[in-house]
């Protein structure tokens, strides 16, 4: 690979020449690209979907934009029920647990499905999560515990700025359970 001018060229600099503006098609291309960028950004900002769906690749960049006024928080999380020990539960939060969907995207989508208020769709989503987890485990792609069911909980917390992080919420409510056939 080479850089710009060779040492011979740089030793004998060329006489200064006026820089010509790029060709008209190039200028039109740049103008079109900039127009799409700015136009899309304006539309994304004006539209700004409160449910968080962006006009990707444009975005209203609303991440962390909302004022939080309470230390109370409620989250929905999926737990796996190990086949060997039906009384314990493991949260499904890791990359391997939810593959190929990332943790953040998974819970974002699950929230969207919950908001549809269609129990069949929610059950299908959880069943698919369980079957993909088990299929990948059987294929040796992760070493998680074998699961016999997964459960969707609503967890409630009262956070303490001076306390240490906890895994156990203040309260929880079972929303749905799906077991292996």
């Amino acid at each position: 690979m080479t850089g710009g001018a060779s040492s011979k060229e740089s030793a004998q600099p060329a006489p200064p020449r006026a820089v010509e503006p790029p060709s008209a098609p190039r200028r039109v291309t740049v103008l079109a690209l900039v127009s799409v960028l700015i136009g899309g950004a304006v539309v994304a900002f004006v539209r700004d979907d409160p449910h968080g769906e962006d006009l990707w690749p444009f975005s209203a960049y609303r991440m962390y934009s909302f004022t939080l006024r309470t230390w109370r928080v409620s989250t929905h999380r999926v737990f796996g029920v190990p086949r060997e020990d039906g009384r314990s539960e493991v949260p499904l939060m890791g990359r391997d647990d939810l593959y190929p969907i990332g943790h953040n995207s998974y819970y974002f989508t699950l929230r969207r499905i919950e908001q549809m208020r269609d129990p069949a769709r929610l059950e299908a989503a959880l069943r698919d999560t369980l079957s993909r987890y088990e299929a990948r485990r059987r294929a040796g792609l992760h070493d998680g515990a074998p699961l016999r069911a997964i459960r969707l909980y609503e967890l409630r917390w009262r956070l303490d700025p001076r306390g240490t992080p906890r895994e156990v919420p203040d309260s929880r409510r079972l929303l749905l359970e799906v077991a292996t056939p």
Binding site: V34, W56, P57, R62, M63, T67, V73, I101, G102, P161
Partner: protein
């Protein structure tokens, strides 16, 4: 002032911003480093698993809906993913650069859009699409590339200085994309929260939330410093005010040479700080920072320093040999 005069000045300002003389070498280094980063973040990522996900998770982005794209098959993803990987590597080293960058843009946009179609919630990949587009439309393979080396071997002349107006605009375009992202983020905070985003405990609450494994919405933070910061509300408010100020003033970096390094460094420090104490993955977004560094000047300095060292080594050797004879 006449309308023609104003129009001409506007046109000059526009051309001056986008088509100012720039070196092919700078753009070449930006291309090489950007695609190296893209390979690091996405090269090993296997997209084929999305073919096996139940359709209930499929929520295509608007462009996919518009084009009538369905959830892809495993075979289709295998092909697209293979083309993407080859195109990224070829774009990086500058081999068949025009075709490679175009393919990288098309396949990359599709695959990143696919990620978003299964639960988009992050904004850090959008910028990648715009940078890929600008590189695909530019002459980014004219330097620091195998194409250039091959052309030279064949005796084809390098680009003339008159064409230097071609090499600045992709860099400037990336600057504008970043400026829009930061400014929109700041504006979004003002729109949804107003100044209470700064004066409330919002940042302190966020810092505690992200340290709770079952509460956080992104990756785990690298350090638990956020918990210590959250105990000092005024420090949190100071950080909130600082980050809002950085976001809203970022567009000044486009026009002020004096402020540019400070604003860009502050934004970089802010994003690194957020990754360390809050955890979100800004990695792909942060690749765009390579476009703010004048690589041609950096390389010139490195070459100058190397030449100086070589000259010094020679001059050190001369007395020894002359003394021996």
């Amino acid at each position: 002032m006449s309308r023609g005069g104003f129009g001409a000045r506007l046109r000059d300002a526009w051309n001056g911003f986008w088509f100012a003389p720039a070196s092919a070498e700078n753009l070449g280094w930006c291309r090489l480093l950007f695609f190296t980063g893209i390979f690091f973040f996405f090269g090993a990522r296997d997209f084929r698993g999305f073919a096996d996900v139940d359709g209930v998770f499929w929520n295509p982005v608007w462009a996919f809906r518009l084009l009538g794209f369905d959830q892809p098959s495993r075979l289709f993803l295998t092909i697209v993913q293979s083309v993407w990987r080859i195109a990224v590597v070829a774009s990086c080293v500058g081999l068949f650069t025009r075709a490679a960058t175009l393919l990288a843009f098309l396949t990359g946009t599709y695959l990143l859009g696919l990620l978003y179609s299964f639960g988009g919630s992050g904004s850090s990949t959008g910028i990648v699409v715009f940078v890929l587009a600008s590189l695909a439309l530019s002459r980014c393979g004219d330097a620091v590339s195998i194409d250039r080396w091959l052309r030279r071997r064949r005796g084809i002349a390098a680009a003339t200085s008159a064409s230097r107006g071609e090499y600045g605009w992709p860099v400037r375009f990336t600057w504008v994309v970043m400026a829009i992202a930061f400014f929109a983020a700041g504006l979004s905070k003002l729109r949804h929260s107003g100044l209470s985003w700064v004066s409330s405990d919002t940042l302190a609450i966020l810092l505690v939330r992200v340290n709770h494994p079952l509460v956080r919405q992104a990756n785990a933070p690298m350090f638990d410093w956020g918990l210590r910061l959250a105990r000092h509300p005024w420090i949190c408010r100071g950080f909130a005010a600082g980050s809002l100020a950085i976001e809203l003033t970022f567009p000044l970096a486009l026009f002020s040479r004096r402020l540019r390094p400070w604003i860009v460094a502050a934004a970089l420090a802010m994003q690194i700080g957020i990754i360390l104490v809050m955890g979100p993955n800004f990695g792909p977004f942060m690749l765009a920072y390579v476009f703010w560094i004048p690589w041609d000047r950096v390389m010139e300095r490195l070459r100058g320093a190397r030449a100086k060292n070589a000259a010094a080594a020679v001059s050190r050797e001369i007395p020894v040999t002359s003394g021996a004879t």
